[in-house]
């Protein structure tokens, strides 16, 4: 019997059926087994239903008042309840690892029963390979003013997206990578004619994982955040003690293509490290999670996708570590995070200055709850929180180069939400020169912001406003120099006040919206000119029975210099249309955009008009292991009109005849 594809390679083992948050009707906590025998794992064959026995505590509940959630997704409407048990056929593939099924009383919001189960790899073997390839050949058949020398008339491109997996003996191997070819050298992202972009190959079982390629390791911290790099990592999962340990070696620079290998052979451009995460309270893992990261690395800035000022000729070197404690307490209402990190960073190993040591820490505390209004009877959700964060002047980490350093921040925020209205407020103060270095100025910045959102629930959503939502956001900033070093004649001080109103309207399939924004800047010391900035944008998206679509937008930004009385304005008009002339055979797309820029002092005054049109004939529909072929006639028109220096004006266009072949290849077997 053929098994559903998604469940062909997993078996589901429910072996930890104990629930620890069971609360009886009288409110007293009781521990109760949900299954008669939790010492023997309940193994469910792939594709079969998940079935669990119901504890006696549920017998007193009306099932109409129970919400059943799988991994926090409400599945109540798809669960079948029978006397003494419930069953659910997973509709989407469950990932390998732990999953949680819970039953909650809708009246009280209390969790009545909870089941933790684990999905494991099966012993079923299956291999699959998917290669989606595209080959494009185009010939330029007409042109005007496209540069000297003009590009070759013929242009060939090809790309393939390759993914594979093999599952066997409780092991899983999977990987993905892209291949690119371009006949025009300038279009390539490397010197190679054929090269690959990013790749990732992973091998895993229930205890360990190994990854080779582009990856992100660990959770965000002061020393490592948004750090996606090529390299190698090994992860050990110890589910019995709710812990995970990872060792990694990643390239400190972004690497693409075949040339970089694993990206870790050069010690001068490598970050080595360890990451661990543990939840000591097994019965309730979110009660306390402890995580830590340690890294040691070097970097020479040669990153094609990061632009920055010159850093240092000899390359940088850094060691840093971070430890984080996170807790969800009082039925998850109280959220507490504390992090401490220390770094030792040598910006330039050859400059004779020793590495700088510094630290960073933060404490975040927030509380949220829901109460019932005595007046309206409706529920009001509210939260209040605070953040205290200090990052030292010389704190730096190779794996988090975007971190704002030299800053002491204190922030308080609050939010209230009732039915269709939400109000958010935050106030923060930050001060730089946290080391109180005498020769540096110390600047204090206060920032207050308020946001009010309203989404009225209308009975008739077919009127011209459809389903609307409105937001008003106000922000106010004040910067002042609270200590000025000697011999520095100017102390800094400025004020900013900005507001923004946005409205969005949604219909059955269409939507439109309008945004207005305004910013006033006042400099108390004359260092910068006072200014006023006004922005207006309008957009709409229209779909007509999947045979046609139109998207249109207008954006206007204008800045007035209140000192020089010079104003600068930019306007963007954009229109994108798609029409299916013969469904699945012939379609037309047409884009039109105008970008206008002008200043009142007549230094800039120009328009850029751009038109693209493509008429596409689908000669043969693609299918698995079968070529699809498209033939298209396309044209790109560009007109730059400089109204001040007419010699700069240029009108150009180019027209192409293009044939595109696509081939989705699939190979696979199972036994």
């Amino acid at each position: 019997m053929a098994r559903p594809r998604f469940f062909a390679f997993i078996t589901v083992a429910i072996f930890a059926l104990c629930h620890t948050k069971t609360i009886a009707n009288d409110g007293n906590s009781v521990d109760q087994q949900a299954h008669a025998d939790d010492s023997t794992p309940l193994v469910i064959e792939s594709g079969e239903m998940i079935e669990v026995s119901l504890p006696e505590s549920l017998s007193s509940y009306s099932f109409e008042n129970i919400i059943l959630e799988l991994d926090q997704i409400n599945i109540t409407e798809l669960v079948e309840l029978s006397e003494g048990s419930l069953s659910y056929q997973p509709t989407i593939q469950l990932d390998v690892g732990k999953h949680q099924l819970s039953a909650t009383d809708i009246q009280s919001g209390e969790v009545i029963a909870e089941w933790i189960f684990e999905v494991r790899y099966s012993e079923i073997s299956e291999s699959s390979l998917a290669i989606d390839s595209q080959f494009i050949a185009s010939q330029r058949i007409a042109e005007k003013n496209i540069g000297d020398p003009a590009p070759n008339r013929f242009h060939g491109q090809a790309n393939s997206q390759v993914s594979f997996s093999h599952l066997s003996n409780r092991w899983q191997l999977e990987g993905a990578f892209d291949l690119y070819y371009d006949s025009i050298e300038e279009n390539r992202f490397s010197e190679r004619t054929i090269d690959n972009g990013e790749f990732l190959v992973s091998v895993s079982n229930q205890y360990a994982e190994a990854h080779i390629g582009h990856q992100v390791v660990g959770n965000g911290s002061f020393i490592m955040d948004n750090f996606s790099r090529r390299g190698v990592s090994v992860v050990g999962n110890m589910s019995s003690i709710e812990s995970k340990v990872s060792g990694f070696s990643l390239s400190s620079n972004e690497i693409f293509g075949f040339g970089g290998g694993m990206g870790i052979s050069d010690r001068r451009q490598r970050v080595d490290g360890m990451y661990f995460e543990t939840s000591p309270v097994k019965e309730q893992p979110t009660l306390w999670t402890l995580s830590g990261t340690w890294i040691d690395g070097q970097i020479n800035i040669e990153d094609e996708y990061v632009a920055q000022a010159f850093v240092g000729g000899g390359g940088s070197e850094s060691q840093s570590w971070s430890i984080t404690s996170e807790s969800l307490l009082l039925e998850d209402k109280l959220h507490f995070v504390a992090e401490y990190a220390r770094s030792e960073f040598d910006l330039d190993r050859t400059d004779g200055i020793e590495a700088e040591e510094d630290d960073a820490h933060k404490i975040l505390l927030s509380y949220s709850d829901v109460i019932e209004s005595d007046v309206t009877g409706s529920e009001i959700a509210w939260s209040v929180g605070g953040l205290k964060q200090r990052v030292g002047t010389f704190f730096q980490s190779i794996a988090n180069q975007g971190l704002a350093t030299d800053k002491d921040l204190f922030q308080i925020n609050a939010a209230v939400q009732s039915e269709s209205t939400a109000l958010q407020f935050s106030t923060e103060t930050h001060q730089d020169n946290v080391e109180s270095i005498m020769v540096l100025p110390t600047i204090e910045t206060t920032l207050n912001s308020l946001s009010l959102s309203w989404s009225p629930t209308l009975e008739d959503t077919t009127s011209w406003v459809g389903s609307p939502s409105f937001t008003l956001a106000i922000a106010e900033q004040d910067q002042s120099e609270i200590r000025t070093p000697e011999n520095t004649p100017i102390s800094v001080g400025n004020e900013v006040f900005s507001w923004q109103v946005s409205s969005n309207f949604a219909y059955e399939v269409n939507s439109w919206g309008i945004n207005l924004s305004n910013t006033d800047f006042i400099d108390r010391t004359g260092l910068q000119n006072d200014s006023n900035t006004l922005g207006v944008s309008l957009f709409s998206n229209l779909v007509f029975d999947e045979t046609a679509s139109v998207s249109a937008s207008i954006g206007i930004d204008e800045i007035d210099d209140l000192i020089t009385q010079v104003s600068s304005k930019s306007i963007n008009y954009a229109l994108q249309t798609y029409v299916s002339i013969i469904p699945n055979e012939l379609d037309l797309s047409f884009d039109y955009s105008i970008n206008q820029n002008e200043t009142s002092d007549l230094l800039i005054n120009g328009n850029n008009t751009s038109i693209n049109f493509v008429l596409n004939w689908k000669i043969r529909e693609q299918a698995v292991n079968q070529f699809g072929i498209d033939l298209s006639l396309s044209s790109a028109y560009n007109d730059f009109d400089d109204k001040l220096m007419t010699l700069n004006s240029l009108e150009s266009h180019q027209t192409f005849l293009t044939i595109t072949a696509t081939l989705p290849s699939r190979l696979g077997n199972s036994e």
Partner: protein, 377 residues
């Protein structure tokens, strides 16, 4: 001696006299007079050298190197070995101004040494010499020391480019949703003027035309880091696309990166686009909020999912890094739903979320995915 011979001798004598000129003054202007203590800083200096010629000829003005001094003008902190030179042919009695632009790196070493000596400024001295007269003039640029952050005019220190799926080079299915992101690390606060520009097929098959998608003038508050997001990138036509952020003001002292992506046709196995109705972008989420969508043939269930971060809409995978924080499944007989209080209890008040709808068939295959929209709770 005939007049003609006298004239020839006079011309010969005039031509044999070398140019006589002198440097009158040198001034320096810079786009940034702050040197960071924690990074080496790159600045642009415009040197203006005023000269005067007594007779005509070729003048060469040269500065072999520059020197960093402490404000006491006695303690040397470092040197820059950039050679600056410019030639100009002058006529007799003509005055002229020579402009030489220098890209100067102020090493962290220099700034740190000055700070350790108790100074809040660094001096950069350059002496210019003219050839052939060897007159000299010196100018001094005053540079303030700064920490990692500062008030005053905004300066961009670093720009990191990537797509919203975290990649730098990527391919995506037609009609998928992708944005470009630029993480700017900056000092000070002020106006940034920028354009997101796109080069799309058919122009990428020949001469590349960059077209502005949006031009913004945005005031950046003190914060040190900002993420600029492009509009949704076009993905309706197959082929190669380039996207770049053009920073018009402040002008960065470095070359900006260019991202590239390739749009490939949707295969029959990939999820199609699912059209959603309400709620609109930035709606307030409550138990009264109604989610609606267009029916998908062969669907068995629909799942409305809420995420803390914007999900990658190009594909569905149970292994996706971003997991929904809450959601609801309903049978395919329904095309609308509202969340109950239990589902909303997984959310934190005051937070922005993203929602989408997926359609799943009998075999567990994801048939269609909607584009995501923001929600406020």
């Amino acid at each position: 001696m005939s007049n003609q011979i006298r004239l020839v001798i006079l011309i010969f004598l005039l031509a044999s006299f070398p140019l006589q000129a002198r440097i009158i003054s040198v001034t320096a202007n810079t786009n940034n007079n702050q040197a960071s203590l924690i990074n080496s800083t790159q600045i642009q200096i415009d040197w203006r050298i005023s000269v005067e010629a007594r007779n005509s000829g070729l003048l060469t003005v040269r500065s072999m190197n520059g020197t960093f001094f402490a404000p006491n003008r006695e303690t040397q902190l470092g040197m820059s070995s950039n050679l600056l030179t410019q030639n100009r042919t002058l006529n007799e009695g003509q005055g002229a101004t020579l402009n030489i632009r220098e890209s100067l790196v102020i090493p962290q070493t220099v700034a740190r040494r000055a700070q350790q000596l108790g100074f809040s400024q660094v001096l950069f001295l350059r002496t210019f010499t003219d050839t052939p007269d060897a007159t000299t003039a010196t100018s001094v640029l005053l540079i303030d020391l700064a920490g990692a952050s500062s008030a005053g005019q905004i300066q961009i220190d670093r720009v990191q480019m990537q797509f919203s799926n975290g990649k730098r080079v990527t391919s995506l299915s037609a009609e998928s949703e992708l944005q470009a992101e630029a993480l700017l690390r900056y000092r000070g606060s002020g106006m940034i003027e920028y354009s997101w520009e796109i080069a799309s097929p058919p122009s990428t098959q020949g001469q590349i035309f960059y077209t502005p998608m949006v031009s913004r003038k945005q005031f950046v508050l003190a914060g040190s880091e900002i993420k600029l997001q492009s509009p949704i990138l076009p993905s309706s036509r197959n082929g190669l696309y380039f996207v770049r952020l053009k920073l018009n003001n402040p002008n960065p002292n470095f070359e900006m990166p260019i991202l590239r992506y390739t749009v490939v046709p949707q295969t029959s196995e990939q999820p199609k686009s699912l059209l959603v109705g309400s709620p609109p972008q930035d709606a307030v989420l409550s138990t009264q909020t109604q989610f609606s969508w267009q029916a998908v043939s062969d669907a068995k269930v629909y799942q409305v999912e809420v995420f803390l971060e914007q999900p990658n809409d190009t594909a569905y995978s149970s292994k996706q890094l971003i997991r929904p924080v809450t959601g609801t499944q309903v049978p395919a007989t329904k095309e609308t739903l509202s969340f109950n209080a239990i589902s909303l209890a997984h959310l934190r008040t005051g937070q922005t979320y993203y929602w989408r709808v997926i359609a799943v068939d009998q075999a567990g295959k994801v048939l269609a995915i909607s584009k995501s929209r923001r929600l406020i709770y």
